[in-house]
Point group: C2
Chain length 278, copies 2
């Protein structure tokens, strides 16, 4: 789909898909925004290869995202090798779409490049071992990845983020040959959605819950959450997800430590990969 | 600018602006991607107000970004109050564009909402105090913010991220009435660029440096860095920035601890705001 060809879009319909009954009073609109609203995660892919130069296009968009002080503390590893994707799918608890997608991009918080510059230029980097520095690297990787997602979707491609790379950062680092002080923050599947893969747009919390004016405000939060629970209960019913309401999913996800799949050890694991995070 | 009106765009020119001589072999292209490539940070704004409903549009785009397990661990605070923007500009070391822009959005990593759900539903949340959870909240806030940036730029608006909100997270939290377990990850100025505000597209590292194939690879990294140093030296000369080369800027930014403006204390400061980050 070439975006220069005007596509029909319907602001009201897009907002209804995203918010159900709680439609916000959105203003200016265009095709780029309409496409952002239609985002959904794609978990089944066709085997079709991507057009030549696709990864270069996506990384050009990624590199065009803002980066703190132009430091660019991230790398991307483009993976097409079936054997590597098989291991990554295993790390992710058997997510088959990692094997299916023609392109998997691992987004790396990469302080190793700085470590090399420090050694090559013989300057000690006092700013490396801090939470702030670690966090900026993760955020810059996220900004880059999200720009790649927008670019991919504008080309008619589907994507899904794979946080489960963090189930075993050491195995992933070994597989991809990462040096100390680098790790895969998140993976991304890219490809053409199979007919069964492109689900419905998932409703989000009412804007009133997440958007505050001048000051944090939770006045109607409980009522808004109950309204959203009803929206998500309907959505779950249509898609046979396990938990009926959003509240129940939050309780399941944040209640028992076992829902973290071992990721509560991340700080220790990252220390082993050279991140102090003081 | 309505994106339904076809705009001229030139892939080769966009890539040359972003990469200088090291133009990557990018493939598919369209207007959305062209606009992403043209991103630049805007640090001077006109006083012109935004069209009605702009913040609702931007937050609808932000909420349409992926969010880990649909948990939505972020909030946005829209700030237009001049008195509040004045304080935020002070926190950021006197960045005047925070006062100038008609809309400032504070992107909040918001675990406070979960704390309230835990209390309201009488379920203990074992997954709260971990680095993994903190990191996901920051990343989700970043994905949301970046979608808002793409939407804003598609509407002809300029933006700039303000990481300096983290110079004093406690003062920012008090100003915005944030409860424990929430903090402003990053701010964002939004508005129409003043004529002096929209600078040139900033060159980035060659793709060969940040994009790896199947495996991390630094084979030609030093030569690539020197080539980028030359690009950035030219850019700096055109824009009278202090440091001549990118390497020098990295040394300045990561070498002496004073360049962190106190942000090395972030972990301690966030502990005071209720984030354990184990």
């Amino acid at each position: 789909m070439d975006s220069l060809t005007p596509q029909p879009f319907d602001k009201g319909a897009s907002l209804a898909h995203r918010y159900g009954a709680a439609v916000p009073a959105a203003g200016p609109w265009n095709e780029t925004i309409a496409r952002q609203l239609e985002h959904r995660s794609v978990r089944a892919y066709k085997a079709d290869p991507l057009p030549a130069g696709t990864v270069e296009t996506l990384v050009a968009a990624a590199q065009s995202a803002a980066t703190s002080s132009n430091m660019q503390w991230w790398s991307a590893i483009a993976i097409t090798d079936p054997a590597k994707k098989k291991v990554l799918a295993e790390v992710a608890g058997g997510q088959k779409h990692i094997e299916q997608c023609p392109l998997f991009i691992a987004w790396v918080a990469d302080m190793a490049r700085n470590q090399r510059i420090s050694a090559q230029e013989k300057v000690e980097f006092e700013c490396m071992p801090w939470l702030e520095t670690f966090m900026v690297a993760c955020i810059d990787a996220a900004l880059a990845a999200q720009n790649a997602v927008v670019a991919a979707e504008s080309l008619g491609l589907g994507t899904v983020y794979i946080g489960a790379m963090r189930n075993d950062p050491v195995r992933v680092a070994k597989l991809l040959g990462l040096p100390p002080q680098s790790f895969v923050v998140v993976g991304l599947c890219v490809g053409y959605a199979a007919e069964t893969g492109a689900g419905e747009v998932k409703p989000r919390l009412p804007q009133a819950t997440v958007l505050h004016r001048e000051q944090y405000n939770v006045e109607n939060e409980i009522a808004e959450r109950h309204a959203y629970d009803a929206e998500m209960a309907n959505f779950s019913q249509r898609h046979e997800l396990q938990a009926a309401t959003w509240t129940q999913r939050v309780l399941n996800r944040l209640g028992p430590i076992k829902s973290m799949n071992g990721r509560e050890k991340l700080r220790t694991v990252l220390a082993g990969l050279g991140f102090e995070i003081r």
